[in-house]
Amino acid sequence: MAWTVAGFGTLAAAAVLLAPLVGSTRIHLGAAFDRSIPYADNIDAQIFFVARLPRVLAAALVGSALAMSGVVFQALLRNPLASPDTLGVSAGAALGAMMAITFNLDFSLLGISAVPLASFAGSLGALTIVYGLSTARRRGTSALVLLLGGVTVQALLSAVIAFVQYLADFTQTFRNVRWLMGSLDVASYSPILAALVPMAVAWAGFATLPRMLDLISVGSESAAARGVNIERTERIALVSASLATGAAVSLAGPVSFVGIIVPHLVRLFVGADHRLVLPASALFGGSFLIGCDLVARTIIAPLELPVGIVTAIIGGPVFLWLLFRRA
């Protein structure tokens, strides 16, 4: 099974290297990496590294962060329908980021700027509400309450998002609407670097989780009886997934369906073991979003579609197929 993960790795590497070659101007990989031509004269290299690579890297980061968050939520809640979208975590992150954008918030903390911070605060806030709801009724979290709570919180947050939009002026509203559709048009490396800090923290958290997720997905009490520290695992998992989702949303807006379909597709290839599912989902999530973004920027060229529209159009039917397959 480990070779399947290596396969996903090859796919991701190929996607990062080849996707920047596609676009309005044809460029060649060999020319872009040809060190004998001075960079100032190497048009291929300039297009590759300045115009296109940031966007592809953003897609890779966002796709892998959303996919890993989906894996973690599904295992922790023992529910295949859990994802950053269905739990309202993406909506919380979107609200946070949009408020930071609309009200021009300008501050930073530990090198993280306002938009990713507000986005993380929003995702953690939404998750805290949903999680609090599900734990308040009884000891232990009820997966059903969590999902219903997620849907409700998502609807509530959408209303607040609409309210913030209503307060914004006309051009601001247009920008917000475009942003909410999900777009990877990052234009430079700096927003990627800003998102990289919270993502690195999330990766470190995710790295500790796979075996505990296996045991918890079979039952939290039997996991506890085998020596898993449930409370600590839940805390690490929820904070890491909120950080990753927050960072992804701050970079690209709420790109839907990646967090729910990628883990399921990956499990078809590598099985259920999270030591394989988590890294494979990170790799495939990145490749999947790079592919979707490639479609988004070429299908009606020279116009570019927001990538969120493409992921929803591909992801919706795939998700329905997965539902039928299970039933």
Partner: protein, 264 residues
Amino acid sequence: MLEVTDITFAYSTLRAVPQRVLDDVSLQVQRGSVVGLLGPNGSGKTTLLKIIAGVLKAPSGRVAIDGQAIEQLTRRDLARRLAVVPQETQTTFDFTVMDMVLMGRYPHLGAFQLEGASDQAIARDALAATGTAAFEARPFATLSGGEMQRIVIASALAQASDMLLLDEPTAALDLGYQFEITALLRRLNRERGTTMIVSTHDLNLAAALCERVVLLKQGRVIAHGTTEETLTAANIRLLYDIDADVQYHPRAGHLTVVPVGRSR
């Protein structure tokens, strides 16, 4: 020896008066013995098993294994001493039977350590002991209820502890599987000397399997002793308000309980 001393427990609720689920519960389980935990719904059987397993913490009282309080053991140490078999196990994802059994090795492995050849061998041995070696590569979710329960027992055996806590292990099974699981547990006790605490509603299962029984009602131990002395018509009436015939059955080789009607 497992010693439970004066355990009192109440679930914290939003209501004003917390309901005591366990009230001064004490019991002893000798190494190598099989003890049945009997009592009506809500009598505190499952809660008591969770406290013994260290999943719940009791505010007062003490659980000790061979003289050592379980709070002094780490979670992993405790999991190496005793394993839990829940009533039912439902998986969210398509784990194979081997995946499920290898999860029992968790307390024996380091944080990033993968299962090695010895873990695989222990898992295969556990599968063989439960008669499920043929299922090794099957997806767990495709098995029948009785097969699943045998795999879960195998996974508890792979944990390599010498004590098993079983919470109504046959409740979800039909008569044939109930019989099969009972026979399996008897054999494991006889051949491996595994100590077992079995909570059950099935008085005949308790009579067939357990040397001693503990009767719980409303969180209190109302009787505790050998099965012959304790599983009596009078005690069954106390526990369930049921009038029952309790007789030694020569062909079965143990006591049998036939409920006759509501008492009073």
